[in-house]
Symmetry: C2
Subunit: 517 residues, 2 copies
């Protein structure tokens, strides 16, 4: 790769380049610069106005079926360039082929899912929310809740780890709900997002103003927020807090949906059947190594009955030992580098902090074998740590190392396990492996309030269950507390962020006629 691709932004329906060199984007396998992106001098104010007026009017004038058709066309345009995009995922993200497919197919699949929802909602432009309610002595006096598009623009700020899926899952919900989108991917891996949106604009399928893309530094992006806009953010808790305290966010009260770091836990229950135990080992291994552990849903804390710890270390260690790390271009490599030098530095610091209160159960904090690379690159090899107890420690419940690093926490009884999980203060997902109905029935309600999703795996579904790290459009994605308090996806639920709920109150028969549209 001697070429450096200049990336541009798509604003006001044209690709526009910022001034100067801007930020460099790297190949994290070789440390070579592969692209550059600048947003300097771009007129974001005009882009916001254009999206709000032209894009908003276009979408509000369309039925759900028509909006769904847009999503289907987007999905097809992206899928048509799948091989090219997989290659970009490797070059600018260090993705193995499997990791790139997980991201890109996740994007097209989510778009198709919401396209299907749009089709099933059909020729309507507003959604009824619940049934008519009689509110007075006369049955004529009724109320009906409806959902209509919020009147502004949806600003999407995504993380570097899913440059394809991140844009698609947010845009699918917003566009189907009827809001235009301005999307900003994490700069470090934005080449894939840029290539994906190029596939969409080349296909010329979206009405003017519906989708804009900002590639490079965010600069004054949030300064242009107005009443009626929405922000959805995925990234670190620190950046999430920065957005919440942005003067325009505070002044306008624009909703900010945050998906942030979380210390997702898995709990192996005592007396799990063999098939359940095997699924547990399989899933923990996948969550540690897929995308080099750079998933917001990856398992960070592994709660295990204390008398099973040694067995788990042995079985997980065996799997980890068989996972080849190195240049993702090689067919035998199963795990690539982290996405950037910044992530490498952050992961190394995090490992050092965790080692202050944990022991190494498997792996080498100084790094293990890396295939096909002569030094350099952003590699972290898998590392399994072990805490003294489920509820001791501090960093282990608070500090997310965004890489192939997880910690085993031995527990004596279910109370201790539940309390340990709770110490994470809210997560995107928790997974529980077990077959004891009584234990499952006790622990699920206890943990539900701290989680956006709980994955229960028992022997009956062990061989076909998806692991906790796979986010599906049918189910809620987001978690309370430390995970940011956001709600994305979950079918129609994911559109709520972009919709205003309104109670319409009046003459029932008249309302029925007016709202049937």
């Amino acid at each position: 790769m001697s070429d450096i691709t200049p990336l541009s932004s798509y604003l006001e329906d044209r690709w526009q380049s910022g001034e100067g060199d801007g930020s460099a984007l790297y190949d994290p396998t070789s440390d070579a610069i592969v692209a550059r992106a600048s947003t300097k001098g771009l007129d974001l104010a005009a882009a916001f106005r254009h999206a709000r007026t032209v894009g908003g009017a276009a979408l509000r004038g369309m039925t759900f079926a028509e909006r769904g058709a847009l999503l289907k066309a987007m999905s097809k345009a992206i899928h048509a360039r799948r091989e090219e995009l997989i290659e970009v995922g490797r070059i600018n993200g260090g993705n193995t082929r499997g990791d790139a497919k997980f991201d890109i197919d996740g994007a097209t699949g989510t778009l198709m899912y919401y396209a299907g929802l749009g089709k099933s909602l059909g020729d309507k432009t507003l959604l009824l929310d619940g049934d008519p309610i009689t509110i007075g002595a006369s049955s004529r006096l009724q109320g009906q809740h409806i959902l209509t598009p919020k009147p502004g623009v949806a600003v999407h700020i995504n993380a570097f780890n899913f440059p394809a899926w991140g844009l698609a899952e947010k845009a699918a919900c917003a566009i189907l709900a009827g809001m235009p989108v301005i999307s900003k991917p994490g700069t470090a891996t934005a080449m894939l997002t840029w290539a994906m949106v190029k596939a969409v604009t080349d296909a010329d399928i979206l009405p003017a103003g519906v989708l804009s893309l900002v590639v490079g530094s965010a600069r004054d992006l949030l300064d242009h927020l107005e009443w009626g806009d929405v922000v959805a953010f995925t990234g670190s808790a620190d950046t999430g807090e920065m957005m919440r305290r942005h003067p325009r966010v505070l002044a306008t009260g624009v909703p900010v949906n945050v998906e942030a770091d979380s210390l997702n836990a898995t709990v192996l229950l005592p007396d799990a059947e063999d098939a359940t135990y095997d699924a547990f080992i399989r899933d923990v291994h996948r969550e540690m190594t897929q995308k080099a552990g750079q998933k917001c849903t990856a398992t960070r804390r592994i709660f295990v009955p204390e008398d099973m710890i040694d067995e788990v270390v042995e079985d997980l260690g065996e799997r980890l030992a068989g996972t080849k790390v190195g240049d993702p271009a090689r067919d035998d490599v199963r795990m690539g580098p982290l996405a950037s030098k910044a992530q490498l530095t952050s992961a190394r610091e995090g490992i050092a902090a965790l080692l202050g209160e944990t022991d190494v159960a498997w792996g080498d904090p100084a790094g293990g074998d890396v295939l096909g690379v002569d030094g350099g690159g952003c590699f972290v090899t898998p590392l399994l740590l072990r805490a003294e107890s489920a509820t001791g420690g501090d960093a282990v419940h608070r500090l997310e190392v965004f890489g192939p690093v997880s910690t085993l926490l031995p527990y004596a009884d279910l109370d201790e396990a539940a309390e340990g999980v709770r110490m994470g203060q809210g997560s995107l997902v928790c997974s529980i492996y077990g077959d004891d109905r009584k234990a499952l029935g006790a622990i699920i309600p206890r943990l539900a309030g701290w989680h956006g999703r709980i994955v229960v795996t028992d022997a009956k579904i062990a061989d076909k269950a998806y692991g906790p790290g796979m986010v599906m459009p049918h189910l809620l994605h987001g978690g309370p507390g430390r995970a940011g308090g956001g709600e994305e996806l979950g079918g129609l639920r994911g559109m709520k962020l972009y919709q205003q709920r309104t109670a319409i109150q009046g003459n029932g028969p008249l309302l029925a006629r007016l709202l049937d549209r």
Copy 2:
């Protein structure tokens, strides 16, 4: 009133007095001090811990039916002291008997409504949200969304204008959802809230830790927020912004539901039938004068076809002229004073600002007749202003005078009316009076995205319709943009703030058994 009542706070299940004199509470009719409240030295940290642990565990251990029974008992205990509370509303709020009943009966009615919801939800402790969803090739792999109580405490910060209803409507939703409550009324009128909670604690009906009351300055209230807590606030946009930027709110991402100022509009459509027009005049008059205009849902902007302005001024003026203002203890008085000197000052400043861009259509900005009062008191007499056009002006769309003050805005066509309404940048409620289905069908979807509630009044329901200012527990209360972006009430919808939505994913038949509780 020569007695000054010392008010205390109810924390850790006992009434506790703060140190020193604290804040003075006044009778706004006579300017006499009627009570004092101090929170100095109270251990709020201990109160939060107690509520979270003891109160939270108690509620989570109860079924919806049992929680509903608590609300019913609260409602009855408050209703049993109705006459006494009406008197307190007059003494510390300047309420006429009608205004006090509106507040107190609103409180007991809302509690009873949610008690009924609890009964109908029955012997369950968690709510299913939607149907099971098949998520894989195998029909055994399913997802089910559930709603469970958030694990912290609900902090309620209420406005001075509804000391009874404000506590009740928030507490009803939180307690039925399963969260303990710490409620802080606006200090100026907190004597009524204090007396109401005394009725509840004297009846000894709530489990320990379920309800706490902070009477007086908030001091360090928000410093004790933790992950899992929730804040619901009603009051000014400025204070709402202050809460959103509180360090603990930013650090924990605790959800803050804000109900703030809004410039609620009413639109009289051209060609309204006589009955519809009469309802319009009746409702605008009520919204201007009920509670002396101190309702967050009161109508502030009155959009009228330009050729009907003179007729509307005449008809409204006639009604306003018949509304006697003065000492609320007098039987002939229909409107009392504002609630406090601070409100009086703020209203006077607001009137001066509005007069910079409007003319007086009816009333005297210097004040009209006040019955039974020899000067003093916090009186503002009704004032109807008139703007040049529906979309001109600035303050009229932005500045809420929290008193009996509204502005007429003449419009030429529906586009202009809709644009004028939109300039309020989001309101709690908009009301539309008309019989032209085509016009109604055009304007409702256009305005819905800017409103939490739209009240449509046509000739068929004109005589029995509730005005827009009446908040009902069945329907959503809250509005986007300037109105704060909150969502309260609306039946089960009002519980959502206090519930975590969780997708449970796994073996369908097993989940069905585990979640049937």
